[in-house]
Amino acid sequence: MSTRRVPVIERIMGANDTQAADNRRIFDEHGVHVVNIMAAPGAGKTSLILETVRRLQGELRIGAIEGDVASTVDTDKVRAGGAPAVQINTGGGCHLDAKQVAQSLNEFPLDEVDLVFIENVGNLICPVGFALGEHTRVAISSVPEGDDKPYKYPKIYANVDALVINKIDLLPYLPFDLEAFQKLVRSLNPDIELFPVSCVTGEGMDAWTSWLQNLARAE
């Protein structure tokens, strides 16, 4: 018996990337701008989506695809907020992949929306490795998580278009150095858009929503 070497040179994420490109084509055909939202559990992904939907009511038609390990809690909240939403339960999976998003599109009214948020599974590590077909990637960091997270999870900060810094109403109570934090994030990602906001007081939300409106208009 002899052994021989067979060249392969095939990207391990190739199958996911192909499906993501198919998803992107579907989004483009419907003229929908898609934003993949990634953050740790509790950073305020659902709160940001709900507050954005509320503020842009009558101006931008928004929908949401909600990824969670289990439950329809987030989908119920978004629907109650007046936006179409579907739930993907990953059943233990730590991230959404392009195939799951493709399946969820069968029951999603893409013709009735201008912008779709895909709320990824709460996790700072895996989601950024899986393209879903989105046009824009946004991460959320919240003030209570601490200002050292870019040191610990550099990949997510280096690979998103924008970072929302949520819960800035808590800055007076916590040792979070907003300026140093923004500087660190920019060192990892010079072109990143930064949006310090509070979904509770509404501070900073106007800059965020006008940025989204411009993205959706460009579509």
């Binding site: 018996m1 002899s2 052994t3 021989r4 070497r5 067979v6 060249p7 392969v8 040179i9 095939e10 990207r11 391990i12 994420m13 190739g14 199958a15 996911n16 999976g93 730590c94 991230h95 992949d97 590590i125 895996c126 490795g129 899986f130 870019p150 040191y151 610990k152 550099p154 990949k155 280096a158 500087k183 660190l184 920019r186 060192s187 990892l188 010079p190």
Partner: protein, 115 residues
């Protein structure tokens, strides 16, 4: 734990290429993994031992070639391997680094046993 999905993908790729090469059994799988792809070798190995059962990959050796991150400064062109998450250019101090190496993530080749 996304190494689970990644390992499934590796086994699918290897099975396909082994079949194309007319090979019955794969003895080694050579992987190239950039340090920015945040993959843990041991975790891939753990899932591999379980998921490869009954496939041509069963019993194959996983060989991980790690690729270190190489950054290039967008301002002065200096290239360096970062030692922390601070990607400011050590030469000119600019915050305009781009990774020109370190995102690799592919099956390079397989060693197969002929009948």
């Amino acid at each position: 734990m996304h190494e689970l999905a990644v390992t499934e993908s590796i086994i699918e790729i290897v099975s396909r290429h082994a079949a194309e090469a007319g090979a019955r059994k794969v003895s080694a799988i050579n992987l190239v993994i950039g340090d920015l792809s945040s993959i843990v070798d041991d975790s891939v190995q753990f899932y591999f031992d379980y998921l490869s059962e009954g496939t041509p990959s069963q019993g194959a050796r996983l060989v991980f070639s790690r690729v270190r991150v190489l950054l290039e400064c967008g301002a002065c062109g200096h290239q360096w391997e970062p030692r922390s998450a601070d990607w400011r250019c050590p030469a000119c101090g600019a915050s305009r680094a781009k990774a020109i190496r370190g995102r690799e993530f592919y099956v390079d080749s397989i060693e197969v046993e002929d009948r």
